[in-house]
Protein backbone atom coordinates (compact mmCIF):
# COMPACT_ATOMS: atom_id res chain seq x y z
CA UNK A 1 0.00 0.00 0.00
CA UNK A 2 1.42 3.35 -1.00
CA UNK A 3 0.23 6.19 1.18
CA UNK A 4 1.99 8.89 3.13
CA UNK A 5 2.16 6.80 6.30
CA UNK A 6 2.38 3.33 4.70
CA UNK A 7 2.99 0.66 7.31
CA UNK A 8 2.26 2.93 10.29
CA UNK A 9 -1.21 3.56 8.92
CA UNK A 10 -1.92 -0.16 8.44
CA UNK A 11 -0.76 -0.96 11.95
CA UNK A 12 -2.82 1.79 13.60
CA UNK A 13 -5.55 0.14 15.67
CA UNK A 14 -8.01 1.72 18.12
CA UNK A 15 -6.90 1.26 21.73
CA UNK A 16 -9.62 0.05 24.08
CA UNK A 17 -8.67 -0.21 27.76
CA UNK A 18 -10.97 -2.61 29.57
CA UNK A 19 -9.79 -2.42 33.19
CA UNK A 20 -7.90 -0.06 35.47
CA UNK A 21 -4.82 -2.32 35.36
CA UNK A 22 -4.44 -1.74 31.63
CA UNK A 23 -4.03 2.02 32.06
CA UNK A 24 -0.46 3.38 31.99
CA UNK A 25 0.93 4.73 35.25
CA UNK A 26 1.56 8.18 33.80
CA UNK A 27 -0.66 9.99 31.27
CA UNK A 28 1.39 9.05 28.19
CA UNK A 29 0.07 8.55 24.68
CA UNK A 30 -0.15 4.96 23.45
CA UNK A 31 -0.91 5.34 19.74
CA UNK A 32 -1.15 7.75 16.85
CA UNK A 33 -4.10 9.74 15.56
CA UNK A 34 -3.94 7.70 12.33
CA UNK A 35 -6.83 5.66 13.79
CA UNK A 36 -9.02 8.71 13.30
CA UNK A 37 -10.26 8.88 9.67
CA UNK A 38 -11.02 12.58 9.33
CA UNK A 39 -11.95 12.06 5.66
CA UNK A 40 -15.62 11.84 6.56
CA UNK A 41 -15.66 15.57 7.44
CA UNK A 42 -15.39 16.33 3.75
CA UNK A 43 -18.04 17.95 1.53
CA UNK A 44 -15.85 18.56 -1.52
CA UNK A 45 -13.01 16.30 -2.52
CA UNK A 46 -9.87 17.26 -4.45
CA UNK A 47 -9.11 15.32 -7.66
CA UNK A 48 -5.68 15.48 -9.30
CA UNK A 49 -5.45 15.72 -13.09
CA UNK A 50 -2.03 14.23 -13.92
CA UNK A 51 -2.04 15.70 -17.43
CA UNK A 52 -1.88 19.21 -16.00
CA UNK A 53 0.38 18.44 -12.99
CA UNK A 54 3.88 19.93 -13.32
CA UNK A 55 5.24 18.21 -10.16
CA UNK A 56 5.96 21.48 -8.32
CA UNK A 57 4.77 19.96 -4.98
CA UNK A 58 3.18 23.23 -3.81
CA UNK A 59 0.04 21.27 -2.80
CA UNK A 60 2.18 18.84 -0.82
CA UNK A 61 3.91 21.75 0.89
CA UNK A 62 0.72 23.51 1.96
CA UNK A 63 -1.46 20.53 3.02
CA UNK A 64 -2.27 21.03 6.72
CA UNK A 65 -3.24 17.40 7.35
CA UNK A 66 -0.85 16.17 5.73
CA UNK A 67 -2.95 14.05 3.37
CA UNK A 68 -1.08 14.62 0.08
CA UNK A 69 1.78 12.25 -0.71
CA UNK A 70 4.27 11.92 -3.54
CA UNK A 71 4.10 8.70 -5.53
CA UNK A 72 7.28 6.95 -6.78
CA UNK A 73 6.58 8.23 -10.32
CA UNK A 74 6.72 11.82 -9.04
CA UNK A 75 3.03 12.69 -9.28
CA UNK A 76 1.02 13.60 -6.20
CA UNK A 77 -1.95 11.68 -4.84
CA UNK A 78 -4.41 12.30 -2.02
CA UNK A 79 -5.08 10.03 0.93
CA UNK A 80 -8.88 10.27 1.09
CA UNK A 81 -8.97 8.63 4.53
CA UNK A 82 -7.63 11.85 6.05
CA UNK A 83 -8.29 14.69 3.57
CA UNK A 84 -10.77 17.08 5.22
CA UNK A 85 -11.49 18.82 1.91
CA UNK A 86 -10.33 22.31 2.88
CA UNK A 87 -9.40 23.12 -0.72
CA UNK A 88 -6.04 24.82 -0.06
CA UNK A 89 -4.36 22.52 -2.63
CA UNK A 90 -6.88 23.43 -5.38
CA UNK A 91 -6.57 27.14 -4.54
CA UNK A 92 -2.78 27.16 -4.55
CA UNK A 93 -2.16 24.89 -7.57
CA UNK A 94 -0.49 27.10 -10.22
CA UNK A 95 -1.75 25.06 -13.20
CA UNK A 96 -5.20 24.30 -11.70
CA UNK A 97 -4.50 20.58 -11.92
CA UNK A 98 -6.50 19.97 -8.73
CA UNK A 99 -10.26 20.54 -8.82
CA UNK A 100 -12.77 20.23 -5.99
CA UNK A 101 -15.77 18.06 -6.83
CA UNK A 102 -18.79 17.33 -4.64
CA UNK A 103 -18.36 14.23 -2.53
CA UNK A 104 -20.89 11.48 -3.14
CA UNK A 105 -21.18 8.55 -0.78
Amino acid sequence: MNTLFGKTKEEAKPIVLKSVDEYPEAPISLGTTLVNPTGDWRTFKPVVNEEKCVKCYICWKYCPEPAIYIKPDGYVAIDYDYCKGCGICANECPTKAITMIKEEK
Partner: protein, 311 residues
Protein backbone atom coordinates in the same frame (compact mmCIF):
# COMPACT_ATOMS: atom_id res chain seq x y z
CA UNK B 1 7.33 1.82 -2.72
CA UNK B 2 9.90 4.47 -1.89
CA UNK B 3 10.01 8.00 -3.26
CA UNK B 4 13.17 8.36 -5.41
CA UNK B 5 16.04 10.49 -4.08
CA UNK B 6 15.91 12.99 -6.95
CA UNK B 7 12.31 13.89 -6.04
CA UNK B 8 13.23 14.27 -2.36
CA UNK B 9 15.86 16.80 -3.47
CA UNK B 10 13.34 18.76 -5.56
CA UNK B 11 11.05 19.64 -2.65
CA UNK B 12 11.86 22.97 -1.03
CA UNK B 13 11.20 21.99 2.60
CA UNK B 14 12.46 18.90 4.52
CA UNK B 15 10.84 15.72 3.21
CA UNK B 16 10.46 13.73 6.45
CA UNK B 17 7.05 13.89 8.09
CA UNK B 18 6.76 13.86 11.90
CA UNK B 19 3.18 15.04 12.11
CA UNK B 20 0.43 12.42 11.73
CA UNK B 21 -2.78 12.90 9.81
CA UNK B 22 -6.06 12.25 11.59
CA UNK B 23 -5.53 15.12 14.00
CA UNK B 24 -8.59 17.15 14.92
CA UNK B 25 -7.78 20.64 13.63
CA UNK B 26 -10.47 22.42 11.63
CA UNK B 27 -10.35 22.40 7.84
CA UNK B 28 -7.69 24.75 6.49
CA UNK B 29 -6.09 25.34 9.92
CA UNK B 30 -2.97 27.51 9.84
CA UNK B 31 -1.70 26.40 13.25
CA UNK B 32 -1.60 22.70 12.28
CA UNK B 33 0.37 23.62 9.16
CA UNK B 34 2.81 25.60 11.31
CA UNK B 35 3.22 22.66 13.68
CA UNK B 36 3.96 20.42 10.68
CA UNK B 37 6.74 22.79 9.55
CA UNK B 38 8.24 22.98 13.06
CA UNK B 39 8.43 19.18 13.27
CA UNK B 40 9.86 19.01 9.75
CA UNK B 41 12.64 21.43 10.73
CA UNK B 42 13.54 19.92 14.13
CA UNK B 43 12.66 16.24 13.67
CA UNK B 44 12.07 13.68 16.39
CA UNK B 45 14.72 14.95 18.80
CA UNK B 46 12.38 17.62 20.09
CA UNK B 47 10.55 18.29 23.33
CA UNK B 48 7.47 20.27 22.46
CA UNK B 49 5.68 22.18 25.22
CA UNK B 50 2.08 23.13 24.50
CA UNK B 51 -0.14 25.12 26.89
CA UNK B 52 -3.93 25.14 26.77
CA UNK B 53 -4.71 26.27 23.23
CA UNK B 54 -5.99 24.89 19.94
CA UNK B 55 -2.82 22.81 19.63
CA UNK B 56 -3.79 20.83 22.73
CA UNK B 57 -6.75 19.60 20.70
CA UNK B 58 -4.76 19.23 17.48
CA UNK B 59 -2.17 17.03 19.21
CA UNK B 60 -4.90 14.47 19.77
CA UNK B 61 -7.23 13.08 22.41
CA UNK B 62 -5.73 10.60 24.86
CA UNK B 63 -4.42 7.91 24.25
CA UNK B 64 -3.54 9.07 20.73
CA UNK B 65 -0.96 11.61 19.66
CA UNK B 66 -0.52 13.38 16.32
CA UNK B 67 3.06 14.33 17.07
CA UNK B 68 6.01 12.03 16.42
CA UNK B 69 8.17 13.74 19.06
CA UNK B 70 8.06 14.29 22.81
CA UNK B 71 5.15 16.40 23.92
CA UNK B 72 4.37 18.05 27.25
CA UNK B 73 0.94 19.56 27.91
CA UNK B 74 0.98 22.33 30.47
CA UNK B 75 -1.16 25.08 32.00
CA UNK B 76 -2.04 28.20 30.04
CA UNK B 77 0.40 30.69 31.57
CA UNK B 78 3.44 28.47 32.08
CA UNK B 79 4.96 27.78 28.64
CA UNK B 80 7.99 29.99 29.30
CA UNK B 81 8.53 28.54 32.77
CA UNK B 82 8.20 24.93 31.59
CA UNK B 83 10.64 25.25 28.68
CA UNK B 84 13.11 26.93 31.09
CA UNK B 85 12.74 24.07 33.55
CA UNK B 86 13.08 21.32 30.95
CA UNK B 87 16.16 22.99 29.46
CA UNK B 88 17.79 23.39 32.89
CA UNK B 89 17.02 19.76 33.79
CA UNK B 90 18.45 18.47 30.50
CA UNK B 91 21.63 20.48 31.04
CA UNK B 92 21.96 19.27 34.65
CA UNK B 93 21.66 15.69 33.39
CA UNK B 94 24.45 16.32 30.90
CA UNK B 95 22.54 16.37 27.61
CA UNK B 96 23.44 18.68 24.76
CA UNK B 97 20.66 21.22 24.27
CA UNK B 98 20.21 23.20 21.03
CA UNK B 99 22.82 23.31 18.26
CA UNK B 100 23.12 20.98 15.26
CA UNK B 101 22.73 17.66 17.11
CA UNK B 102 21.32 18.77 20.46
CA UNK B 103 17.85 18.25 21.91
CA UNK B 104 15.48 21.02 20.91
CA UNK B 105 13.17 22.40 23.59
CA UNK B 106 10.34 24.20 21.84
CA UNK B 107 7.47 26.17 23.35
CA UNK B 108 4.48 26.35 21.01
CA UNK B 109 1.82 28.73 22.32
CA UNK B 110 -1.00 30.76 20.84
CA UNK B 111 -1.36 34.51 20.97
CA UNK B 112 -3.51 34.42 24.13
CA UNK B 113 -0.98 32.19 25.87
CA UNK B 114 1.86 34.49 24.83
CA UNK B 115 0.66 38.09 24.58
CA UNK B 116 -1.87 38.01 27.44
CA UNK B 117 -1.69 35.16 29.91
CA UNK B 118 1.82 33.82 29.43
CA UNK B 119 3.61 37.16 29.11
CA UNK B 120 5.40 37.14 32.46
CA UNK B 121 6.59 33.54 32.03
CA UNK B 122 7.82 34.44 28.54
CA UNK B 123 9.62 37.50 29.88
CA UNK B 124 11.28 35.42 32.60
CA UNK B 125 12.40 32.82 30.09
CA UNK B 126 13.90 35.47 27.78
CA UNK B 127 15.60 37.33 30.61
CA UNK B 128 17.23 34.22 32.14
CA UNK B 129 18.61 33.25 28.72
CA UNK B 130 17.66 29.59 28.44
CA UNK B 131 18.65 27.64 25.30
CA UNK B 132 15.17 27.07 23.95
CA UNK B 133 12.92 28.29 21.14
CA UNK B 134 9.56 29.92 21.80
CA UNK B 135 7.12 30.00 18.90
CA UNK B 136 3.96 32.06 19.13
CA UNK B 137 1.41 31.12 16.49
CA UNK B 138 -0.69 34.18 16.02
CA UNK B 139 -4.33 33.55 15.07
CA UNK B 140 -5.38 36.87 16.58
CA UNK B 141 -8.02 35.74 19.13
CA UNK B 142 -8.83 32.99 21.64
CA UNK B 143 -10.00 30.53 19.00
CA UNK B 144 -10.17 27.38 21.10
CA UNK B 145 -12.72 28.81 23.54
CA UNK B 146 -14.89 30.42 20.85
CA UNK B 147 -13.30 33.48 19.23
CA UNK B 148 -12.87 35.93 22.11
CA UNK B 149 -10.63 38.96 21.55
CA UNK B 150 -7.02 38.85 22.70
CA UNK B 151 -4.52 41.70 22.80
CA UNK B 152 -3.30 40.45 19.42
CA UNK B 153 -6.68 41.05 17.72
CA UNK B 154 -6.42 43.82 15.12
CA UNK B 155 -8.42 47.04 14.98
CA UNK B 156 -11.95 46.69 13.60
CA UNK B 157 -12.19 42.91 13.90
CA UNK B 158 -15.38 41.11 14.86
CA UNK B 159 -15.07 38.62 17.73
CA UNK B 160 -17.75 37.19 20.03
CA UNK B 161 -17.05 39.84 22.67
CA UNK B 162 -16.57 42.69 20.23
CA UNK B 163 -19.65 41.93 18.12
CA UNK B 164 -20.29 45.39 16.70
CA UNK B 165 -23.79 46.65 15.96
CA UNK B 166 -25.73 49.53 17.52
CA UNK B 167 -25.25 48.67 21.21
CA UNK B 168 -21.82 47.08 21.09
CA UNK B 169 -18.56 47.94 19.40
CA UNK B 170 -15.94 46.27 17.25
CA UNK B 171 -12.37 45.79 18.48
CA UNK B 172 -11.13 49.33 19.15
CA UNK B 173 -7.48 48.73 19.98
CA UNK B 174 -4.62 47.99 17.63
CA UNK B 175 -2.72 44.71 17.59
CA UNK B 176 -0.14 44.39 20.36
CA UNK B 177 3.39 44.21 18.96
CA UNK B 178 4.63 41.28 21.04
CA UNK B 179 7.78 41.07 18.94
CA UNK B 180 8.79 44.56 20.17
CA UNK B 181 8.34 43.46 23.79
CA UNK B 182 10.53 40.44 23.04
CA UNK B 183 13.21 42.53 21.31
CA UNK B 184 13.27 44.83 24.35
CA UNK B 185 14.90 41.90 26.21
CA UNK B 186 17.82 42.13 23.71
CA UNK B 187 17.80 38.39 23.07
CA UNK B 188 20.09 36.89 20.39
CA UNK B 189 17.37 36.01 17.88
CA UNK B 190 13.77 37.06 17.25
CA UNK B 191 11.83 36.86 14.00
CA UNK B 192 8.40 36.98 12.43
CA UNK B 193 7.28 34.32 9.94
CA UNK B 194 4.20 33.36 7.98
CA UNK B 195 2.79 29.97 7.00
CA UNK B 196 2.53 31.23 3.41
CA UNK B 197 6.35 31.33 3.22
CA UNK B 198 7.43 27.94 4.62
CA UNK B 199 10.97 28.11 3.21
CA UNK B 200 11.54 31.38 5.07
CA UNK B 201 9.97 29.96 8.25
CA UNK B 202 12.11 26.80 8.17
CA UNK B 203 15.25 28.86 7.51
CA UNK B 204 14.42 30.94 10.60
CA UNK B 205 13.76 27.80 12.67
CA UNK B 206 17.14 26.37 11.63
CA UNK B 207 18.84 29.67 12.48
CA UNK B 208 17.16 29.68 15.90
CA UNK B 209 18.51 26.14 16.39
CA UNK B 210 22.11 27.17 15.72
CA UNK B 211 22.19 30.35 17.84
CA UNK B 212 22.71 29.70 21.54
CA UNK B 213 20.43 31.52 23.95
CA UNK B 214 16.69 32.16 23.80
CA UNK B 215 15.00 32.57 20.42
CA UNK B 216 11.50 33.76 19.62
CA UNK B 217 9.47 33.40 16.42
CA UNK B 218 6.06 34.95 15.85
CA UNK B 219 4.19 32.90 13.24
CA UNK B 220 1.18 34.29 11.42
CA UNK B 221 -1.36 31.43 11.28
CA UNK B 222 -4.82 32.17 9.81
CA UNK B 223 -7.87 30.56 11.40
CA UNK B 224 -10.69 30.15 8.83
CA UNK B 225 -13.24 29.34 11.55
CA UNK B 226 -12.59 32.39 13.69
CA UNK B 227 -11.82 34.79 10.87
CA UNK B 228 -15.03 33.80 9.05
CA UNK B 229 -13.03 33.06 5.91
CA UNK B 230 -13.34 30.27 3.30
CA UNK B 231 -11.17 27.28 4.29
CA UNK B 232 -9.28 27.27 0.98
CA UNK B 233 -8.06 30.88 1.38
CA UNK B 234 -5.84 30.36 4.47
CA UNK B 235 -2.57 30.58 2.54
CA UNK B 236 -3.83 33.43 0.36
CA UNK B 237 -4.79 35.46 3.46
CA UNK B 238 -1.40 34.81 5.07
CA UNK B 239 0.34 35.88 1.86
CA UNK B 240 -1.73 39.07 1.59
CA UNK B 241 -0.98 39.91 5.23
CA UNK B 242 2.70 40.03 4.27
CA UNK B 243 2.18 41.79 0.92
CA UNK B 244 0.06 44.55 2.50
CA UNK B 245 2.74 45.00 5.22
CA UNK B 246 0.09 44.21 7.86
CA UNK B 247 2.41 41.46 9.12
CA UNK B 248 5.91 42.28 7.80
CA UNK B 249 8.55 39.54 7.84
CA UNK B 250 11.77 40.52 9.53
CA UNK B 251 14.41 39.16 11.86
CA UNK B 252 16.35 40.64 14.72
CA UNK B 253 19.76 39.10 15.24
CA UNK B 254 22.28 40.35 17.79
CA UNK B 255 21.05 43.94 17.66
CA UNK B 256 20.58 44.05 13.88
CA UNK B 257 17.25 44.28 12.06
CA UNK B 258 16.79 42.66 8.66
CA UNK B 259 13.58 42.80 6.61
CA UNK B 260 12.83 39.58 4.68
CA UNK B 261 9.92 40.63 2.50
CA UNK B 262 9.42 38.58 -0.70
CA UNK B 263 9.57 41.75 -2.86
CA UNK B 264 11.52 44.27 -0.75
CA UNK B 265 11.34 47.15 -3.26
CA UNK B 266 7.61 46.84 -3.94
CA UNK B 267 5.19 49.20 -2.20
CA UNK B 268 2.69 47.48 0.15
CA UNK B 269 -0.70 46.61 -1.37
CA UNK B 270 -3.80 48.43 0.01
CA UNK B 271 -5.12 46.81 3.20
CA UNK B 272 -8.60 46.24 1.64
CA UNK B 273 -7.21 43.28 -0.31
CA UNK B 274 -6.38 41.56 2.99
CA UNK B 275 -9.64 42.60 4.69
CA UNK B 276 -12.11 41.64 1.96
CA UNK B 277 -11.34 37.92 2.15
CA UNK B 278 -12.40 37.72 5.79
CA UNK B 279 -15.89 37.94 7.27
CA UNK B 280 -14.58 39.29 10.59
CA UNK B 281 -13.79 42.65 8.96
CA UNK B 282 -17.06 43.10 7.08
CA UNK B 283 -18.59 45.44 9.69
CA UNK B 284 -15.78 47.98 9.35
CA UNK B 285 -16.76 51.43 8.09
CA UNK B 286 -14.65 53.40 5.63
CA UNK B 287 -13.15 55.42 8.51
CA UNK B 288 -12.23 52.20 10.33
CA UNK B 289 -10.38 50.94 7.26
CA UNK B 290 -8.53 54.25 6.97
CA UNK B 291 -7.51 54.08 10.64
CA UNK B 292 -6.17 50.54 10.20
CA UNK B 293 -4.40 51.45 6.94
CA UNK B 294 -2.74 54.43 8.62
CA UNK B 295 -1.55 52.28 11.53
CA UNK B 296 -0.19 49.57 9.18
CA UNK B 297 1.81 52.08 7.13
CA UNK B 298 3.12 53.87 10.23
CA UNK B 299 4.37 50.60 11.70
CA UNK B 300 5.89 49.63 8.34
CA UNK B 301 7.75 52.97 8.07
CA UNK B 302 8.96 52.53 11.65
CA UNK B 303 10.31 49.06 10.85
CA UNK B 304 12.03 50.32 7.67
CA UNK B 305 13.72 53.06 9.68
CA UNK B 306 14.86 50.56 12.32
CA UNK B 307 16.31 48.35 9.58
CA UNK B 308 18.07 51.40 8.12
CA UNK B 309 19.58 52.55 11.41
CA UNK B 310 20.33 49.12 12.92
CA UNK B 311 20.89 47.18 9.68
Amino acid sequence: MEVPENIKKRVTIPFEEHFYAGHTACQGCGASLGLRYVLKAYGKKTILVIPACCSTIIAGPWPYSAIDANLFHTAFETTGAVISGIEAALKAMGYKVKGEDGIMVVGWAGDGGTADIGLQALSGFLERGHDAVYIMYDNEAYMNTGIQRSSSTPYGAWTTNTPGGRRHFLEKRHKKKVIDIVIAHRIPYAATASIAYPEDFIRKLKKAQKISGPSFIQLFAPCPTGWRAPTDKSIEIARLAVQTAYFPLFEYENGKYKINMPNPKKEPKPIEEFLKLQGRFKYMTKEDIETLQKWVLEEWERLKKLAEVFG
